[in-house]
Symmetry: C2
Subunit: 176 residues, 2 copies
């Protein structure tokens, strides 16, 4: 499976494409950052993010898009921009009929480092090792986007098995 991971942000939107299946070595297809100028109006920044994400979708044709789930409890000053950028990423994917998955930062950290409270450096180091890169991708947003894609590939078998199980069990109406 080929997954585009998106670490949303108005100033820097990390994007990374990873290919592979759980239990096999993974392969990095591409990594980068969609940037928008801080001095531009928000509406125009969102148009630039849309254009950037569309380019990544066109060029790398992922089958899934994994976006970081934004929490309002976190940094109050940046959370609005993050929510808006994530909305654009989700919109671009869903408009093409691509399945969109949301993973929390701690799910992503736990997936690649074994600890949901790992630091940026640890995530970067593990992404580098897992994708057999020469150096950690910079900036951290780019590494985080790759970690999101890896997390999605590794979590998918479990999610799929649960969905198959749910589909195979006949539950009384209204209980699912």
């Amino acid at each position: 499976m080929r997954v585009l991971g998106v670490d949303p942000g108005l100033t820097r939107c990390g994007v990374g494409v990873v290919e592979g299946t759980a239990g096999r070595p993974l392969h990095m297809v591409g990594v980068g950052v969609v940037r928008t100028p801080a001095e531009a109006p928000v509406a125009e920044r969102l148009v630039l993010i849309e254009r950037g994400i569309e380019q990544w979708l066109d060029e790398h044709r992922p089958e899934y898009v994994a976006v970081e789930r934004v929490f309002s409890q976190h940094n109050v000053r940046t959370v609005m921009g993050t929510a808006q950028a994530s909305a654009v990423a989700m919109l671009c994917a869903a408009r093409r009929g691509l399945p969109v998955a949301l993973h929390t930062p701690s799910e992503v950290k736990a997936a690649v480092t074994g600890s949901g409270r790992a630091g940026k450096d640890q995530v970067g180091a593990m992404v580098t090792r897992l994708l057999r890169l020469d150096a950690p991708p910079k900036p951290a947003d780019a590494a985080d986007a790759l970690a999101l894609a890896i997390c999605h590939i590794w979590r998918s078998p479990a999610v799929n098995r649960l969905q198959q199980l749910a589909a195979s069990v006949q539950l009384p109406k209204g209980t699912r």
Copy 2:
């Protein structure tokens, strides 16, 4: 000037189109709500909002779009959805080259009722009076969207005068 006001929300996105100029009677062109099912995934709800806003832009061809400015301090549970819906509205407008204005809830209330702390009923009553409607538009999101459009029309002369003044004054480079 013709303005589309958008009161953003994932479940109900109020939309209202008002035509007129400051100091003259205003005219309601249309009012409604773009709804999305609460049980649908967020990404698909954003696609439905995009489709709804696009229809309103296509049908009513506004020259300006006024969107409620979302604050993260407010209701923490709903603020993420509101931010995401507002991002889609801003994106749709900016993509067409339409100017997007953000007005705070208290600016809107102050514009139509004279008080930044007016209640929903008071805003609905003033919108009804100012647009010479038979009854307050329902739900409140629809009335709020019209209030946003009215606020934008009334605030624009001041904004325009400031912009004209700024344009007419030759400032040393880098000071503006």
